[in-house]
Symmetry: C2
Subunit: 252 residues, 2 copies
């Protein structure tokens, strides 16, 4: 029965009768209108909330929240011209001002990252990677998180040890590596989705429990991984666009 009530309300939303921000009938209101119990009315609203079509504000009411059309994040074409920041290029193409804050640390890579970077077993507590955490913003609004790891074996003693330091700050991994003679020629991205952690939701100013699209990106120079990153974007704001030509691949 609560499913039927939910269907009725959903129909009013999808038909356009109720619009973004409109208030849905209250639990007591629904109950008396439809001659059902408050519990059942509450169950029906919970269905819509779990579907992401509504949000409840305690004390105020339950409100329609239409899924926004997600922006597109291009994950392929810009690699043709690997100069400058891919994120800034993508945002500027959409007329938005890109920015970011970051925080770099030199640490010992955790096991999973060792694996992704094909590092040998850790020696004692030697620091062997630079980890940089980014918060990317579009028009001052935080929209993407990224944590990147670069092995010190590649960059130690060069001018680009720290990603956001020196001449090539903010120009992207590929260009920085090129400047020290490391030619990145392969990329692999592994895309998944999950609920955002409390921490991620807070940094992105999203409601806790939001769905995040995750990307594990790795860059290779030949067979050698030279950078890997965990990228997190809220699924309700972004879709990732991959494209290519048939018959072309990185694994030939």
């Amino acid at each position: 029965m609560y499913l039927q009530v939910a269907d009725q309300l959903r129909a009013k939303i999808t038909s356009g009768e109720l619009r973004e921000g409109d208030r849905l009938p209250s639990v007591p209101g629904l109950a008396s209108d439809l001659r059902i119990s408050r519990s059942t009315a509450s169950e029906a609203l919970k269905v819509l909330i779990s579907e992401g079509l509504a949000v409840a504000r305690s004390g105020a009411g339950t409100f329609v929240r239409l899924p926004r059309e997600p922006q597109r994040l291009i994950r392929a074409w810009y690699r043709a011209r690997p100069y400058g920041s891919p994120f800034r290029q993508d945002m500027e193409r959409q007329g938005r001002a890109a920015g970011w804050t970051y925080d770099s640390q030199t640490i010992q890579a955790p096991p999973e990252i060792r694996n992704r970077l094909a590092l040998t077993e850790a020696e004692g507590d030697t620091e062997d990677v630079v980890r940089t955490h980014y918060v990317f913003t579009a028009d001052e609004e935080p929209v993407m998180l990224s944590t990147s790891w670069e092995p010190l074996a590649t960059t130690r003693g060069t001018a680009v040890v720290l990603p956001e330091d020196g001449m090539l700050a903010g120009r992207g991994v590929v260009e920085r590596m090129l400047s020290i003679g490391v030619v990145i020629d392969d990329w692999v991205e592994e895309v998944g989705a999950r609920l955002g952690t409390a921490d991620e939701c807070e940094q992105l100013k999203h409601a806790s429990g939001s769905i995040m699209v995750t990307i594990q990106r790795s860059y290779y120079a030949g067979k050698q991984p030279v950078e890997t990153a965990d990228i997190v974007v809220p699924a309700d704001r972004f879709a990732l666009v991959y494209s290519g030509k048939m018959g072309r691949t990185g694994e030939e």
Copy 2:
């Protein structure tokens, strides 16, 4: 309070005290053990179910369902050799038996699909696309849904009007189109994530409210779209892998 109970149970799962397939305490059992009401105990179990850590079987109990390490679905390399079914190739590479069921219909394309296929305005109620709904299985288990649309303008009157009919049944869009002289050379995939609909969760035998990764795939012959598909895979089972070589792209 139900959140605290959920935390206790979750701890038993993540610590390994409860294993895959083990039965969680029943609602009446929890209620009497912890001196809480059955409703509260039920709420606690619902939390774990919504987190994907448990599944309830009506009449039997609630059982632990550990998140598997997601399988990788390769979305790029096979396009180098566009013959046969990409899904089957991918599953066989992982030692799993691939299969599918399908249902084709000739219909008038809805507005969003018209847009994706660059179709002109609908004329009356003329049927102008073949829509095929697939349920893909790996080792008999449903793992992926796909709905594809092909414009009749391309295939009308040929031997490959129906995707799963005739000589080239089950060999993939690219090979079928090639057989009628349509050379697919570009592909675009738009990846997002959202909660699964009730219908999708049921078809994939997932708990309702599971997170799904969605792909809008389009194939192009030159600038002309010749097929588009909505693909849905459960995020807790699959990660998508894209890869390529730097400096190569479909948009040069």
